[in-house]
Amino acid sequence: MFSRAYKTAVTVPPLAWVAVFLLFPYALMFCYSFWSVTPAQTILHSWSLDNYKELFQKPVYWQTLLRSMWIAARVMLFSLLLGYPLAYFLSFYAGKRKDLLYQMVIIPLWVSYLVRAYAWKTILGSDGVLNTLLQYVHLTSHPLDFLLYSPFAVVLTLTHIYTPFTILPIYASLEHIPRNLVEASHDLGATLAQTFWKVIFPLSIPGVVAGATFAFVLSLGDFLAPLLLGGPSGIMISNIVVSLFGAAYNWPLGAAISLGMLVIVVSLLFMSERLEKKWSF
């Protein structure tokens, strides 16, 4: 029904745009990661693996990468622990208020990310809302200073930001479950716990995998929350990249780190897609 000319007209412009502004820049970043920079801050276009060697030899890089992954893993875990029961409640117990409650999950997503990270900063600071509240009710006599500028603050804030992202796919997969399966399980004498673990949970795994991937991948590359709330011990890998592109001015090394992140993220996406397919019905 659609002519060749029509297909060409809708295919070529987006294809060309994506090639110039996405594919080519990624390729350029790949090239940069093999180049080097002189002390006079000019880029040398000679090819070597030195940047990658430096990544593995200097502990600061891989340690920060590991710490970022550990932070992202905790964010993922907490988001699932908070998100799954909520999605389950919405799907099976919320009744008429289902749609309203669902919208309430989405609304925080529309609130600026920066604004929410900032809000946590004002809550956790040493003169912040939480510390002054604790002193006001005489639970503590002086400010708890481990709250802000710590990995704890980063994990808390990122969990707050990405929990709705994990709820959405889990809820969608729970809604997909045909209710007659659940009824059949009840009718055949399974207890609520058995029905949950043997019918509902396995069928919701694709949503869990998608939500977990969102939370992990999005928090792994974050650089605002660590800068705003992390302090020196909460620095993440993206912060290093940012500083290499700014003050430290070593674009090639920054490109190598970014490429490492890209490989991690793309392989995680690939794995999660495989898992989702395996568990979908």
Partner: protein, 292 residues
């Protein structure tokens, strides 16, 4: 059905635990927003419990703050231009994915979606390398290209979902009756995709207004609103930031309300692909045998 069913069974303790958990999670999600708004009225600055000397002074300072409003204007321009680019290339991309076969289609689909899930700094960085190579000065142009490119994915996803539900008979009729493809596109395809397109535009607008990671690498002398706020946060915190955040929050709320009113008026079952649950499955599950 399942609710009525589960109420007959001895499920009360489980439902209560789930309800408590849900309330706690909602409190966790909304508490920071509530604190933020409350302290925008606090005369004593940010923090300090209990808040007292409630005042509108921070809003007065905010309204007289020219730098903030310049940044707002700049961000608005940027977001509108990003919508034009993202829709201008995202709609054809969705049509191509729906209707054409071309080599590399799968790669293209994945590539378009990548900026949505990839850390923003990777997209920002790689684009800044491109602009350095092409010797383009960083400024509004580079920001628009960056935001537009990163958000094509939103337009493509929403419009593609709309196309999947679209009945092609109308387009076919239009073509049979002698309209050309251009006329058919504007008079049949676009009006039928009105809701996904508006939904995509709203999402692109919101995401662009909030974007930091990509902007961070592509910004020239002028600040976008988030980067202006960011710059001030690094110098110290004042309730003026709470005030501007509160206004942004109210603005976002208005956008959502606008979207849901629009949707309920025209087609309540059309969702925002990136955010909404699959409605048709809910119906399917309540009536397991749709044939009767």
């Amino acid at each position: 059905m399942i609710l009525a069913d589960s109420q007959q069974r001895p499920t009360a303790p489980r439902a209560i635990w789930l309800l408590l958990h849900a309330s706690a999670v909602f409190a966790f999600l909304y508490l920071p927003i509530a604190v933020l708004i409350l302290y925008s009225f606090n005369g004593q600055g940010v923090g300090g419990f209990p808040p007292h000397h409630l005042t509108l002074d921070w809003y007065r300072i905010l309204f007289a703050d020219a730098a903030i409003w310049d940044a707002v204007l700049y961000s608005l321009k940027l977001a509108l231009a990003a919508i034009v680019i993202a829709l201008g290339f995202g709609i054809p991309a969705a049509l191509a994915l729906d209707r054409a076969n071309f080599p590399g289609k799968t790669v293209f689909r994945r590539l378009v979606l990548l900026p949505l899930i990839l850390p923003g700094i990777i997209t920002g960085l790689s684009l800044s390398m491109l602009f350095k190579l092409a010797d383009v000065r960083l400024g509004l142009l580079t920001l628009v290209l960056g935001h537009g490119t990163a958000l094509i994915s939103v337009a493509t996803t929403e419009v593609f979902a709309g196309l999947q539900k679209l009945d092609r008979a109308q387009e076919e009729a239009s073509l049979d009756l002698g309209a050309n493809y251009w006329q058919t596109f504007w008079r049949i395809t676009v009006p039928n995709l009105k809701l996904p397109i508006i939904g995509a535009a709203l999402l692109i607008f919101t995401l662009s207004m909030d974007e930091i990671a990509v902007s961070f690498f592509l910004i020239g002398r002028d600040n976008t609103l988030p980067l202006e706020i960011w710059g001030r946060l690094r110098r110290g915190i004042t309730p003026e930031i709470n005030a501007v955040s509160t206004i942004i929050f109210l603005f976002s709320l208005l956008t959502i309300v606008f979207w849901y009113r629009l949707r309920s008026q025209s087609a309540p079952d059309v969702g925002m692909e990136l955010l909404d649950p699959p409605h048709e499955n809910v119906n399917l599950s309540t009536n397991p045998n749709p044939a009767d």
